[in-house]
């Protein structure tokens, strides 16, 4: 962990009466994996949306590598090296998985050559390489609208990685992934990101995933950061256990004594 890569200071944004961001201050360090946890409606996605330019904070500043990016358009922010994946995967549904990836690779290099094919070997190879690493090679030729939720999610993340970002923001990367595969998927993901030296911020509901992969955890609550620190410390905090983990774990995994 070295220098500050992304710095948010005093971000505020309200929708009607709901304060989705109510003074967010956060520094993301280069190379770290930072998990964001918190109940639904706490403003986790809003933070990602503000950082990637989809929403503009009403006040506050976001700087990336020392440069102010508040209010810039999503496509300009991408060019600076910040990519994101989505809670609801955003794939080009009428294209195959490989074409989705190739299009992401092509858009990184600029798409304005109208007569050279998307199927050129360079794009295909890189797309295949990524699919290989994400364990998606078998479905390269499948149309995106025919994928199951887990594959869709991974392809969505792979597209973001194809942009070769320095910072990747992932909105619930494991939701929709079958519980039995979850750990393996995150394992793969973490390896790919570490290899590519990508700093990652991810919203996560599964505390096991957080505990195992996050360097730091930020707890979101009503548009504020309620706690921030290493997972062992934060997750052990009784207040966090009561307010966040209690809510999250309660219906899905009841505290069974033999677990």
């Amino acid at each position: 962990m070295s220098e500050v890569l992304l710095q948010a200071a005093g971000l505020r944004l309200a929708f009607g009466g709901v304060r989705a961001a109510d003074g967010i201050d956060l520094a993301v360090m280069g190379g770290e994996f930072l998990a964001i946890i918190g109940p639904n409606g706490a403003g986790k996605t809003t933070f990602i949306n503000m950082t990637t330019g989809y929403l503009r904070p009403q006040s506050g500043e976001i700087t990336y590598e020392g440069r102010r990016i508040t209010g810039m358009a999503p496509r300009a922010i991408v060019k600076l090296g910040i990519a994101r994946s989505f809670q609801l995967p955003q794939l080009f549904l009428e294209h195959t998985v490989e074409q989705n990836l190739a299009l992401a690779v092509a858009s990184r290099e600029g798409i304005w050559s109208p007569l050279a094919p998307l199927r050129r070997p360079r794009y295909r190879e890189e797309a295949h390489d990524l699919l290989e690493r994400f364990g998606l090679a078998a479905i390269a030729g499948t149309r995106a609208d025919a994928l199951n939720e887990g594959a869709r999610k991974l392809a969505d993340i792979a597209m973001a990685v194809a942009l070769r970002p320095r910072l990747l923001l992932m909105d619930e990367p494991t939701s929709g992934v079958a519980a039995s595969e979850k750990m393996a998927v995150v394992e793969t993901l973490a390896r790919v990101l570490r290899e590519a030296k990508v700093t990652a911020v991810f919203v996560e509901h599964d505390m096991d995933v957080v505990e195992r992969f996050a360097d730091r955890v930020a707890v979101w609550s009503q548009g504020r950061i309620a706690a921030l620190g290493p997972p062992q410390e934060v997750l052990a905090d009784p207040a966090v256990q009561r307010d966040v983990i209690g809510i999250e774990r309660h219906p899905a995994t009841p505290e069974a004594p033999h677990a």
Binding site: T45, N49, Y54, F86, Q87, L88, Q90
Partner: protein, 311 residues
């Protein structure tokens, strides 16, 4: 300015009155189109044909009643009856046998189906009523004219255009607003408009609502046509003119907006009739200029709501 007014005041008064009455007609047709789009999510190009058929039917029924020797006033209810007939006969036919098959299709395809229907109905209309102008204005002449004092002068204007046309529009506007907000069926329609999936998930019988809405929309188009029939001779092509104007109103007002459609109709009706009296070359262009200007400032229409997509 004062001098200009002295010269042109009378014209301006006439333009305003004309604009008001044509706004009434435009509203009736456009609100039908808007309602159908809101619920079925289909832009019905054949809406203009329904207008034309409503107009021709009203004229035919009026002429038929007169030939029976019935008094002239009978042609007034005949206007409404013919509109209801068109709505009740053609509406369900089109919805059941055509539109129902394409709800799941792409928007382009839906648009093309109604375009094809438009082509078919245009020729049907020519085959049934011919291409010679048909004129039956008993309803208008019967109600006489009124002298309206304006700028120290009087403008004679027909009672029919001054009261009946805007009157129907106002009644429709108020009635529709009341129906959609206060009755159960109306609220169901609004629910389907705002979130079709949720509405169907809640067990709302969407297919019945579609049938009802489409037939009602068709009746509104036909009513617009029927009410217009006493004011002008009917010729082929009125359907095509009407539909493009209604499109412009719907896009300007914002999709699914009823009060918006009323205001837009008023703007376009007045704009157009002012053009007729002062710059006739611009008549046809005025609605589109209004539309472009509005959409430049408000891309989702005057009253349209921006949909923020959740990502």
């Amino acid at each position: 300015m004062a001098e200009w007014f002295q010269d042109n005041g009378l014209l301006l008064g006439l333009a305003l009155l004309d604009g008001l009455s044509s706004a009434g007609l435009i509203f009736l047709v456009a609100v039908g189109l808007n309602l159908v789009f809101g619920v079925l999510r289909i832009v019905n190009v054949a809406h203009g044909s329904l207008y034309a058929i409503g107009a021709y039917s009203a004229a035919s029924i009026g002429i038929f009643l007169a030939s029976l020797g019935l008094p002239g006033w009978a042609s007034i209810p005949a206007l409404v009856v013919s509109a209801a007939l068109v709505g009740a006969v053609l509406g369900p036919l089109i919805e059941r046998f055509l539109l129902r098959r394409i709800y799941a299709q792409e928007e382009v395809v839906q648009l093309l189906v109604t375009f094809a229907l438009f082509m078919v109905l245009e020729d049907v209309q020519k085959l049934v009523w011919g291409v010679q102008p048909i004129h039956h204005d008993t309803a208008m002449t019967l109600l006489g004219t009124i002298d309206i004092p304006f700028a120290g002068d009087v403008i004679p204007f027909t009672n029919y255009q001054l009261f009946v046309l805007p009157g129907f529009a106002v009644v429709t506007l108020v009635g529709l607003a009341w129906f959609l907000r206060r009755t159960l069926t109306g609220r169901v329609i609004v629910a389907v408009t705002t979130d079709r999936e949720a509405a169907t998930a809640m067990g709302i019988d969407a297919s019945r609502i579609y049938l009802l809405t489409f037939s009602f929309g068709a009746a509104l188009a036909a009513l617009g046509g029927a009410l217009s029939s006493p004011t002008a001779a009917l010729v082929p092509g009125i359907g095509a003119q009407t539909i493009v104007l209604s499109f412009a109103v719907v896009a300007t007002a914002g999709l699914g907006q009823i009060e918006g459609a009323a205001l837009t109709s008023l703007m376009m009706g007045l704009g157009r009739s002012i053009a007729v009296y002062f710059e006739p070359e611009l008549e046809v262009v005025v609605p589109y200029i209004i539309m472009v200007l509005v959409l430049l400032v408000r891309p989702q229409g005057l009253f349209g709501v921006t949909e923020t997509r959740r990502v």
